[in-house]
Structure formats: C-alpha cells, structure tokens
C-alpha cells in the first residue's frame, strides 16, 4: 500500500488542480470581469481576487482591463463662434467603468475607440460657442482654454458612461492648428509684421544717430562761441594793458606819432610795393649825372 500512497496523493493533487481550473477564475487588480450564465451577462466583478463559477458552457467569464487608456482622436476641422475654422487633435483618456454594459454594447477595443472618436467629434460643437480669442490670445483675461476643455469633457463623459459603460476621465487638446488655406495668409502676415518691425528699427536707428550727431554739432558750436567770447575778453585785457603802456606816449605825442608813422611805413610797404618817386626825393636826387669839370690849374708856389 505504501508505494501506492504516493501516486494516490499525486493523482489527488492533479484532480484538485483540474477542478480548480474548471471551477474558479482570478480577477487581477487591473481587471474587471463579467460572468455570463448561458450567454446572459449576469454578474460583474470589480474587485480583484479568486472567484468560483460553473465551467463552460454553463458560465463564461469575460475579463477587461479597467485602467486608463489614452486614445488620440482623428483630427477635425471645426468653426468657432466667430467663424474661424480650426483643426483639433484631441487626446482622450478613458476606461471601462461598467463592464456589464460594455460587454453588452461594445465588442472589441477598436469599437470602443470608434465610439469615443465619434463622441468627441460631437463634443467639438462646444467650440461653436466660444471665440478663437478664448483659446489663443495674448490677453490672459480672455483665455478660457481649460474651461472649454472641461465643457467638452463633461459632455463626452455624460454621453458614454451610461450608454456604453465607458468613463472618459481625461480630455486634452493635443494640437491646435489652422486650415492649410489660412496658413499661407498667416505667413504673409508674419512677413509683413516683420517688415514693419525692421523698418521701425532702422528709422529708430537713424533718428537716434541724427539726435546724437546734431547734439554734438550744437555742442561744438556752443563751445566755440564760448571760446570766442573768452578770446574777446582776453584780447580786450591785452588791449587794456597795452593801453596802459601807451599812456607813456601821452607824455610826448609828437615823438610817438612820428615813430608810429615810421613803423606803419615799414610794415605796409614790406611786400609787393610799387614806389613812384621823383628825382627830388633823396637819395634819388643824386641820379642827376653830374657834370665833370676839370679842376682849374692853380699857380705853382
């Protein structure tokens, strides 16, 4: 009997394992499950753990990963309230909240994505209630980006949670662009804005340069005028002082006058003078050729 005991235990264990395999299932911490009885979904399980069921074909278990999944919707062109068309790409974070409904209504993951895509497309209507300046503006007061996203989020999650058992937790606009036709116009505008800026800068440069140089010129003139004034003053001082000396001349005015005349004569006729004199002027009076007379003979002693 001893040797049979071992095999019996092993056989028993194998049987237990098989039974467990047939009659139980696990729900992992990231999963939710639905148990169908003869094809009818009856029970949904949200908590992880080990559970019991009747084997197929009585009961069947469907498991779903219930965690957050990110899905990027197709890009859509949509108008704002002020008739500006924009292109949006929206990223959506969703999860299976109610597996029972999900199983009944949705089939595969790709179906779920299609549903979400269409729902979000629908929710873009929200943008029709807002102006473009509420999304894009240098004036922070005008911006309502976050609010608009929240509007879309609550609208979308409302549509999907009861109908499909899908809970949309996150809605973020991933890209915001303008239609291609508008793009070229934007480039044109950017170019002309830059041109205006460039001209402005050049004009400012010229203006500043002119300011600096004309300031310099006028300063120079001031300086020279000051200098001239100073010079006049100095020369005046000189004249005044020399006048002091000339008081001496008062003592003997004729002598002073005479000497002065001589000086003037000398200075004015120093260069390029043409002088016309007659023979009576000394020493030219000697220019008469003298008659040379023989001296008379005198008696000898």
């Amino acid at each position: 009997m001893r040797k049979h005991l071992f095999t019996v235990i092993v056989a028993f264990l194998i049987a237990v394992v098989l039974l467990l395999y047939l009659f139980s299932f696990q729900v992992r911490v990231n999963e939710k499950a639905v148990v169908t009885t003869f094809g009818n979904p009856k029970l949904s399980i949200e908590n992880p753990g080990l559970y019991w069921k009747w084997p197929f074909p009585v009961q069947k278990v469907f498991k779903f990963d219930s965690r957050l999944r990110i899905f990027e919707c197709q890009r859509v062109e949509t108008p704002t309230r002020d008739q500006r068309n924009i292109i949006l790409v929206t990223s959506v974070g969703w999860k299976i909240a109610d597996p029972l409904t999900y199983l009944k209504v949705v089939g595969k993951e790709s179906d779920a994505e299609k549903i979400i895509n269409d729902t979000v497309k629908d929710c873009l209507k929200v943008l029709g209630r807002h102006n473009l300046s509420e999304l894009i503006s240098t004036d922070v007061q005008q911006l309502k980006f976050d609010e608009i996203e929240n509007e879309m989020l609550s609208m979308a999650s409302g549509k999907t949670s009861d109908r499909y058992g899908i809970s949309i937790e996150l809605l973020k606009i991933k890209q915001l662009a303008l239609p291609p036709e508008v793009l070229e116009a934007v480039f044109k505008r950017m170019r002309s804005e830059r041109q205006i800026e460039a001209s402005k800068l050049r004009a400012e440069g010229e203006g500043e340069a002119n300011k600096i140089s004309s300031a310099a010129i006028s300063k120079r003139e001031n300086m020279l005028a000051e200098a001239e004034a100073d010079a006049k003053r100095i020369m005046g001082e000189g004249d005044a002082r020399s006048a002091e000396y000339y008081k001496v001349f008062d003592q003997n005015p004729e002598l002073a006058m005479f000497l002065n005349k001589l000086e003037v004569l000398r200075e004015t006729l120093a260069k390029r003078a043409t002088i016309v004199v007659d023979l009576s002027t000394m020493p030219f009076d000697l220019l008469k050729i003298p008659e040379v007379k023989k001296p008379e003979e005198t008696t000898s002693k």
Partner: protein
C-alpha cells in the same frame, strides 16, 4: 466451504501465480511497468521541485516589485513594495510578480511641434510629412503667429502600486506584436500608395492623406500607453502656454518662463490623474520661426544690428567732433592769449623804447632830432629796398604839369597764390 477446500484453492492460486510470474512475457511486462512507474515518480518529483523553484525571483537594485496573489495585491499599504534582493513566491497561478523600473528615467523627444519629422521617425522610415497643416507641426502664439519647437521630457515611474492599478500598460510581447502588425500594414499601405501614384488624380490625393495619417496614428499607438499619456499632457501644456505669448517674446525673453509654466502644468495633470508617474525634467531643446518666413525674421535681426551700427557711428562722429572742438577752442583761446601777450609786449617794448630814448637825450633836443633823422633815413632805405618796382620820375620845372602813365606789371606771386586757392 470447508477450510480445507479454501486452503487448497489458495495453494492452487498461488501455484498459478508463481507459474505466471515465471512466464517471461509477464515478467518483462511487470518489469516495464515498474520502471515506467519509477520514471514517472522521478518525473513528477522533478516537476514538483521545479514548480517550487520557479517561485524564486530577483529584484534588481533599480527596480521595485509587487506580488499579486490570486490577482490581489499582497500586503498592506506599507509593505506592498518588494525591495531589491532574492525572494520567493508561489508560482503561477497562485502568485504573480510584476517588476517596475523605478529608477530608470524614460525619455520622450517630442517633435509634434517641429517642422520636420524627428530623426528617429525618419530612421524608421515614416512617411515623409509634407506641409499640409498638421504634418508640419507647430503651435500658435497669442498673436496668431506660427512657432516651431522641440522638447525633451524625462519622467519615471515613482509609485508602482498606483501605476499598476491606474495606468494601462502592455507587456513586452504585446508591444512586439503590435509593432509587427504595424510593419505589415505599413508595407501593404506603401504598396497601395505606389500603385495609386501611378494613376494620380485629385480625389486620390485626399485619400492618400487619410491613409498616411492612419499609419502615423498606428505607429503612435504602438508606443506605450503611458508614453501617449505623457505626450498628451505635455502637448496640451505647451499648446496652452504658447497660445498666451507673443512670438517676439517666445523667441527671446519668455523661453524660460514658458518652460517653467509648462512643467508646472504637466505636474498638475499628473497629480490630477494620480497614476504614480513623476515628472523629472522638461527641456526646450529648440524654438524657432517657420522656415517660410526666415528671410523676414533675419531682416529684423539685420535691422537691429544696423540700428546699433548707426548709433555707434553717430557716437564715433560725436567723439570726433567734440574732441576737434576742444582743439579748436584751445586754438582760439591760445591765439587770443598770443595776441594779448604780443600786444602787451609790443606796447611795452614801444613804451620802453620811447622811455629809453627820452632818457638818453633828456636835455638835448638836437641830439634827439639827429638820432631821429638817421632813423628816418634807415626806414626809408629799407622800404625802398623792399619795393618790388621803383619808378623814378624826372623833376618837373616848377609850375609844369606832367601826365604820367605807368604800367604796373602783373604780380606773379599774387597770381600764384590765387591759383593755389582755386585748387
């Protein structure tokens, strides 16, 4: 039955049995069964030992692990994380060990807002994106201008429990399978595109775009779900921040503040979802205006430089003028000083001369007159000497009038000087 008969039957049966056992066929069968039983026992023992050994696992130093028992996380909040080291757990299907690279920094290079596909994309042979709106990525600035930027994001998994329970992620095999599927689809798509291009027409063009977009999106889906989550958060943050600034500022002074604000937005998003991811760093690796308007932008830089050059030239001119003026000013004053000195000195000299003269001949007017006559003569002599032209006319008889015609020659020196002035 009588005991005697029973004993007889037993003995007979035993006899048969012994005879049976003596049969070689029976013997080998029994032998075979015994051997196979032993092998089976050994095999099962090995399996059981292997079963238990497979419960051993190693957690690396840069990892953390979580144990699931029948799908449920084992442990209380405090000790759910299994630290580094060698551990043992019941093998599947009882326990499951999941490891998380907690210290490893994940890097995303974001080229969503860049005007070319990233180098990585080109390597993988992505469809070349030609600018039809979205393929050339950009962000709109607050003043409705177009801006391209490249970013790098570093994040890590910080809380494995939250990450495991909240964020969907695929196993390595699933990702590999996805990639294979996409490769196949991309190849078949390219085939179709090539065929279609041969018969090009207008409507085909639109469908072509949709196809390439589809491929792009498939490729993105093959990225890890958590990657997509991070990308969605950061793209959204970048979008919102750039939509608030002027392009001029975004390209110059506001770069840092934009990065800081993007970082804080993304951190908030992560906190909101609370899925165990930690943002480590966001870097703005490049930000620029579109290539289409490059010339216009460069012209502005040029204009800035020119403005600076003009200012500097004017300043140089200013310096030159003012230093010249200083010189001129000095010259004027110096000339005045010279005049003053000269005038005073000359007056002094004249005065002294007269004083000396008078002192020399104080009481002798005749001698003074004699001296003055000689001086007079000297001066006239000098003057006559210096004269360029001298005309000596005969004396007339008294009372006669004489008419004089004098030809004054041209002054060569004056002519020369006048010519000099002309040039």
């Amino acid at each position: 039955m009588s005991p005697e008969l029973e004993k007889k039957e037993e003995a007979q049966a035993k006899k048969l049995q012994i005879e049976e056992e003596k049969d070689p066929g029976y013997q080998s069968l029994a032998e075979a069964l015994r051997i196979s039983f032993i092998i089976l026992k050994i095999g099962i023992s090995i399996v059981i030992i292997y079963f238990f050994l497979s419960g051993l696992f190693v957690v690396q130093s840069d990892e953390q692990a979580i144990k699931l028992r029948f799908g449920r996380i084992v442990g209380t909040k405090a000790d759910q994380i299994i630290p580094a080291g060698i551990h043992w757990a019941w093998p599947a299907p009882i326990d499951e060990i999941i490891k998380f690279p907690v210290e490893k920094t994940q890097l995303i290079r974001l080229s969503t807002f860049w005007h070319e596909p990233s180098v990585a994309d080109t390597k993988e042979g992505r469809v070349e994106r030609k600018g039809v709106g979205m393929e050339k990525g950009y962000a709109l600035t607050g003043d409705l201008n177009i801006l391209h930027s490249q970013w790098e994001i570093r994040y890590r998994i910080s809380d494995p429990v939250k990450y495991l329970t909240k964020m969907y992620f695929e196993t390595e095999q699933e990702l590999a399978r996805k990639n294979r599927e996409i490769q196949k689809r991309r190849e078949s798509l390219f085939e179709r595109l090539r065929e279609r291009r041969k018969k090009e027409s207008g409507d085909e063009h639109k469908k072509k775009e949709e196809d390439t977009e589809f491929v792009d999106r498939m490729v993105e889906r093959a990225q890890k779900n958590v990657d997509n989550f991070v990308r969605a958060c950061i793209c959204n943050a970048i979008l919102k921040e750039i939509a608030q600034v002027k392009i001029k500022d975004a390209l110059s002074t506001a770069k840092e503040s934009i990065t800081v604000r993007v970082e804080s937005r993304v951190k908030n998003y992560f906190d909101e979802i609370d899925c165990g991811i930690e943002l480590k760093q966001i870097t703005l690796s490049d930000i620029t205006y579109p290539p289409e308007v490059k010339e216009a932008f460069n012209d502005v830089f040029l204009a800035e430089q020119q403005k600076d050059t003009m200012r500097k030239a004017a300043q140089a001119y200013e310096t030159k003028i003012l230093s010249g003026a200083e010189g001129e000013k000095a010259a004027i004053i110096s000339a005045a000083e010279t005049y003053k000195v000269k005038v005073v000195k000359s007056a002094e000299a004249d005065a002294d001369y007269i004083k000396n003269l008078l002192a020399k001949y104080p009481n002798n007017p005749e001698k003074l007159k004699h001296f003055l006559d000689i001086h007079h003569q000297e001066v006239v002599q000098e003057v006559l000497d210096n004269a360029q032209e001298k005309f000596i006319l005969p004396a007339t008889g008294k009372g006669e009038k004489m008419q004089l015609r004098v030809q004054i020659p041209r002054d060569e020196q004056l002519e020369r000087e006048k010519l000099k002035e002309k040039f």
